[in-house]
Amino acid sequence: MTTPRPSPVSSKPQRERVADRIPAVDADLWQHVYLILTAMVGLLFVWTLSATDDVSLPLRLIFLAVLVLTLNRWTAAVLLGLIQVQLLFLEPPAVGVIAHIGGFLWIMLTLLLVLVVSRYRTLQDRTHSAGFAAIRHLFGHGLNRSRTEAEHEWFNLLTALKNLLSGVLKIAVCATVAAVVLNAFPVNPVPGERLYTYREFSLIPSGYRLIRLSLTLFAVFLVSWIVINESVWRRLSPRQASVYLRSTFLNWVHRDLRMVILKRMKIRRAKARKVPSMSRQDGFDTTVAVSDLED
C-alpha cells in the first residue's frame, strides 16, 4: 500500500500561512534598546578600565576606540582578543575576597558588552540603519506617537528585556562554571593572601609532569595515526580519488558555488522539517518523503 506523498515544495498559500504564524519583530525598537544598553555597559566597561592605575592612558584610549568601532565595523572577536591581552599582561595583583568578586563582575560586564554589541550588529544588518540614525529615530519618534504604537513598543520592550535577562542568566551560569573549573587547577600558591599575576603563575610539579606525558602520548598517537591513515589512503579506488579531488577543488576554486549548494540544502532541510506538522492535520504519513528530502 502506497502512502500519498505531499509535494516537498510548499505552494504559495501554504507559505503565506506559515509567514502569518511568525510574529512580527520590531527590529528598530530592539536596535534602540541594544544601542542604549551598549552605551551603558560600554561606559561601565571604560570606567572599570580607568579605575585601575596599572592601565596606561594610550591603552585606555585604544579600548575606547575599539569599543566605538565595534558598533559599526568590527566584530566582537576583536574586543574579546584585546580583553584577553589585558587579562594576561596587565592584571593587577588584587587582595582578598573582594578581588575575586570584582574580577567575576568584570568578566560578567565584558561578556554582557559582547552580547549587546553582537545583538545590536545583528539588528543593524537586518534594518540596514546606522547607529546615529537609530538615535535620531529614537528621539524624534518618541515625541509624537499614538497609543497603539506605544503599547506595541512597550510589548517589544518587555520581550527584549526578557531576552536580555535570559542572556545575563546564561552568562552568569557560564562564568560560575568557568570559575569552578579554574579553581580546580593545581596552581602553586603565591606567598600571602593575594592573587598571582601572569608572571607568577605556575602549576605544581606533578601538573607539569602530567602535561609532558600527555604531549608525549599525543605525539606517539600522531605519528601512528599519520602512518596508518596514509597507508590506507593509497588503497583508494580511482572513482573515490576522483570524488575527493572534485570536492577539494570545488572547495578551493568555486567556494561561491559550494556556498550556494549548501544554502539550498539547508533550505530544503528546513522545508522538510515543516512538512510533518503541516500534513499531520491532513492525516498524511510523510516520514518517507522527509527521509528522501534529508538525503
Binding site: Y208, L215, W233
Partner: protein, 75 residues
C-alpha cells in the same frame, strides 16, 4: 612529476610539524622554567602545518591514482 614534488613537500610539512611538537614537549619538560603557553602556541602552529601537509599528500596521491587508471573516473 609535479604530483611527486607536491607529495614530497607535504611530507616535509608533516616532518616540520612533528619537529614543532617535539620542541613544544621540550618547552614543558624544562624543570627550571616550564613554558606551557608557548608550548600551546607551538602545538597550534604544528597542527596547522600538519593539516596542510596531509592535504597536499592526499591530493597528490588521489591525482596519481586518477592518472594511473583514468577509466575509473568515467561515470
Amino acid at each position: 612529476m609535479l604530483f611527486w614534488i607536491r607529495e614530497i613537500v607535504g611530507w616535509l610539512l608533516v616532518a616540520v610539524s612533528l619537529a614543532l611538537v617535539w620542541v613544544g614537549i621540550s618547552f614543558v619538560s624544562d624543570p627550571e622554567s616550564p613554558r606551557v603557553v608557548e608550548a600551546g602556541l607551538l602545538l597550534f602552529a604544528a597542527m596547522a602545518l600538519l593539516r596542510m601537509g596531509i592535504l597536499l599528500i592526499r591530493i597528490s596521491t588521489a591525482a596519481r591514482i586518477c592518472l594511473k587508471e583514468p577509466n575509473g573516473t568515467n561515470r
